[in-house]
């Protein structure tokens, strides 16, 4: 959450192994109260205390938005990542107390749409599970196209098919199945909105194909959370706070700022929302931009950095924080 917002103290009540890579977690409030309301597509930021390192990872809420007794998320284990998902998989057990942020939605449904076309790749299915519950309750028209590597990794496919019948279309890469995107897009009635969540390549393919076929930008929605990349350690001077911090290899610049006790704004922690944008006052070296918020021109101009995912390599970095 951005500066000042209060975290919600929760208890983990369920940890379910969905398949060999994915675990599902359920959180309820420590005080037994209702969770804040949210709409399909929202995420929460889960705070972890990983052996002294504070990690904050954003996960889409997958539970039914109408159900306020708890939140559910699914986490895919990333063995080569910085450790957030490994922490969730290895250390989070039922009964554990944690802090999570109130929900934020950067991937909401446009309810003026005549029809909602949802396209998911892999773990990108999670926001759609909440969205479909919402759409179904509203009696809105929707269709899900969900691709996964194989049957084992296609989390929730069977449940979703059972719940929504032929509105769910499944594709397995290993069986040579792929979404026939041009045909799918060509047949959509006017007023359809398209939503895509999945790996970077899939998002680019879907948005590019739709744009080329004349779909207006206002009807296209996507969400991709980047995990902050691991990189070389570097130091940064925080001009406003008057301190110099060091950023570890498996730490993001934002995490290092926070670890130094400086409050910094954020929403997605994945380079998508723009909330953490910070001015660069001096950079003797190279800014390693990893976000998809700044335009290419802005990135080249080196005047701004997104500390949640971007890094630095060089002699000296001064930012306005």
């Amino acid at each position: 959450m951005s500066v000042g917002a209060t975290k919600i103290p929760v208890v983990v009540t369920e940890v379910v192994e969905v398949n060999s890579l994915i675990k599902r977690f359920r959180f309820v409030r420590e005080d037994g109260g209702e969770m804040p309301g949210f709409s399909g597509g929202a995420h929460t930021v889960v705070e972890m205390d990983d052996g002294g390192t504070r990690r904050l990872n954003a996960y889409s809420l997958m539970s039914d938005p109408a159900e306020r007794s708890g939140y559910e998320i699914s986490v895919r284990r990333d063995d080569t990542g910085r450790g957030g998902s490994l922490f969730m998989h290895r250390h989070v057990k039922p009964g554990m107390r944690m802090l999570i942020s109130p929900p934020v939605n950067l991937f909401g449904l446009d309810l003026r749409a005549k029809k909602h076309l949802l396209i998911a790749g892999g773990i990108g299915i999670t926001p759609f599970i909440a969205q479909m519950a919402q759409l179904n309750a509203l009696g809105a028209r929707f269709e899900l196209h969900y691709a996964a590597r194989d049957r084992e990794l296609g989390a929730y496919m069977t449940e979703l098919s059972a719940r929504y019948g032929d509105r769910v279309h499944r594709y397995y890469d290993v069986e040579g199945q792929a979404i026939d995107l041009p045909a799918l897009l060509r047949g959509q009635p006017l007023g359809t909105h398209l939503y895509v969540c999945g790996p970077k390549g899939m998002i680019a393919w879907v948005l590019g194909t739709a744009g080329g076929m004349g779909w207006p930008k206002g009807a296209l929605h996507s969400e991709e959370f980047l995990a902050p990349p691991v990189g070389q350690p570097f130091t940064a001077e925080l001009a406003v706070s008057g301190i110099t911090i060091s950023v570890g290899a498996a730490q993001s610049l934002l995490e290092a700022i926070e670890a130094a006790g400086v409050e910094a704004p954020y929403l997605c922690r994945g380079g998508a929302c723009g909330q953490c944008e910070t001015r660069v006052l001096a950079a003797e070296g190279e800014l390693l931009h990893h976000d998809h918020w700044l335009t290419d021109e802005q990135k080249a101009a080196c005047g701004h950095i997104m500390p949640c995912v971007s890094r630095f390599k060089g002699a000296r970095l001064v930012i306005e924080r």
């Binding site: 029809k115 060509r186 959509q188 009635p189 006017l190 007023g191 359809t192 206002g218 009807a219």
Partner: protein
Amino acid sequence: MQTQFDTTMRSRPRYGVLEPRPGLAHLIVADGEGGEAVLALFAQAPELLETARVIYMPGANGTDMTAELEAVKPAQFSRVPSYAAGRQRIVKVLGDAHMGLQVYVTGTEGLMGQVQRDAMEAGLPHDAVQTEHRGSLVRRVQCVHCKGITEHVRTDPFQCGHCGLNLFVRDHYSRRLAAFQGVCVDAEDPGEVPPAVERFK
């Protein structure tokens, strides 16, 4: 020529210049001098002609470019006497269309506002309709008293075509109605009506 606007009014929608965009089909609606913008669009991208459906109505001032438009042979061409007369057809085209349809509207403000409204009702986002203002600046005005809409208003004040009140044309545009607002000028002193000035040519 594109129309020049004074830029002081904030609720007035902004219009652009029609540009060809990729699409599976192209719906083009124009009135009066808007016909010129349609010809300019086809000159730029003749391939649009193959899938273009043009719906054209002559202008309030009598400008009728039907012959010129028919001569370039769009896939489908229809001439309708007014938007009211053509609306059902346009709504049907939108209702039957698929995503990938491009919508272009050019001509008077009243026409553009009404097509935009109908396209949004059909579910298209606001950014999906391209507009280009051509020709007359006559306004479509709704009387705030009787709710009647008077088309092609040239002067300010003017007399409401429905209830007959003398209305002052406010620079307030409603997207939902695709109309400006008209408010009675002589409510306090009936009969005290300033002389009408031709403000919208």
